[in-house]
Subunit: 207 residues, 2 copies
């Protein structure tokens, strides 16, 4: 984790300058409101109210709703290198299990709202899709697939994307039971073998 991580809990409030507090509160509130309402449905007033600050602070610190959206949703709220390390550290044969653990534990924290906000913004912002593709796939899954060392790494990364995007959609957006409420120890033995096969297994006879 980097010190600048946006999802750091705000317990250290007393040691921060007030401006940073306000910005952190607005970013966290924005993620929640964008997740609930999407970009078009979210209002500056609702975000400021949830953060407990004056609506004028949104313009002051972010130049408006669009700027706040960029900061809260289009910038990734976790350290990509740390995610990569967490998925790959156990070697190729444990990547499936580590991928489920790493993503679901982050998404279940502050990241769940981030994931939902990103998906719900796909309509209004082509950038939201590009973020999903560039960060989840290009920077994380392609690197994991390269570490796995198997043939056709691009196809393997994209197949992992189908499972991880679908898991996120089902658990956080559609909230479909029993996947929505399943604890991580239920998800690991069910979903990890899929990812493990996509990364290092036999993909069948392709032309």
């Amino acid at each position: 984790m980097t010190a600048a991580n946006d999802s750091t809990p705000t317990r250290r409030r007393g040691r921060r300058p007030a401006g940073e507090d306000t910005r952190t509160a607005l970013v966290e509130a924005a993620r929640a409101v964008f997740a609930e309402s999407g970009f078009d449905g979210a209002t500056v007033r609702a975000i400021a109210a949830r953060a407990g600050v004056d609506a004028a602070m949104v313009n002051h610190w972010f130049g408006g709703k669009e700027g706040l959206f960029t900061k809260a949703v289009l910038r990734v709220p976790f350290d990509i290198d740390e995610v990569l390390e967490s998925v790959t550290a156990g070697g190729p044969e444990n990547m499936g299990e580590n991928m489920v653990r790493t993503f679901v534990s982050r998404w279940d924290g502050a990241g769940g709202e981030y994931f939902v906000a990103l998906i719900r913004s796909v309509t209004s912002h082509d950038d939201a899709l590009e973020t999903l593709k560039k960060v989840l796939v290009s920077r994380i899954l392609n690197a994991v697939a390269a570490h796995a060392g198997s043939d056709r790494p691009e196809l393997r990364a994209a197949l992992c994307a189908t499972q991880m995007i679908g898991l996120g959609m089902t658990r956080y957006v559609a909230r479909l039971e029993p996947v929505a409420s399943a604890d991580i120890e239920t998800l690991v033995p069910t979903v990890a073998p899929t990812l493990q096969r996509y990364l290092t297994g036999d993909l069948g006879d392709l032309a």
Copy 2:
């Protein structure tokens, strides 16, 4: 296929009454425009222009944009019984492969726009999520899992949902290569074993 299927090609135009032609053209145009722009971004004018009819026809036949959305996106454009038959007819051991073939062949046709329109409307319409959950999961995947005859059918249906929703998101919404352009004979050997395991395989040691 039922005769009333909305995705029936419009070649039989000469044999239909003009009103039905107009409605079919508007529904098809609406699906395309909602897929591109989401509900909020789509205008009656744009839909009517794409259908080649006067914008007043939207109010005349559907009572406005909301009514047209209900007809074009919230009502499922395929015969659910026929989909179920196609997935289950080969018996439990072929359901994974048949699920990929059945869904991808329908989505690659007119259904791709339908899927994208549904996903892009999640922000504006809670109904869109309910449709995804009720039709894809409750009516199709739960029935398939019941046919498969294994333990924990609800969990198995939801796991199939993670893979199928993720495959649809990756291929049609994110358009991530090489999954976006892969032909069905590439997708079947890669993805079908996942679905087959979710339906009839070992899901690991659960508490």
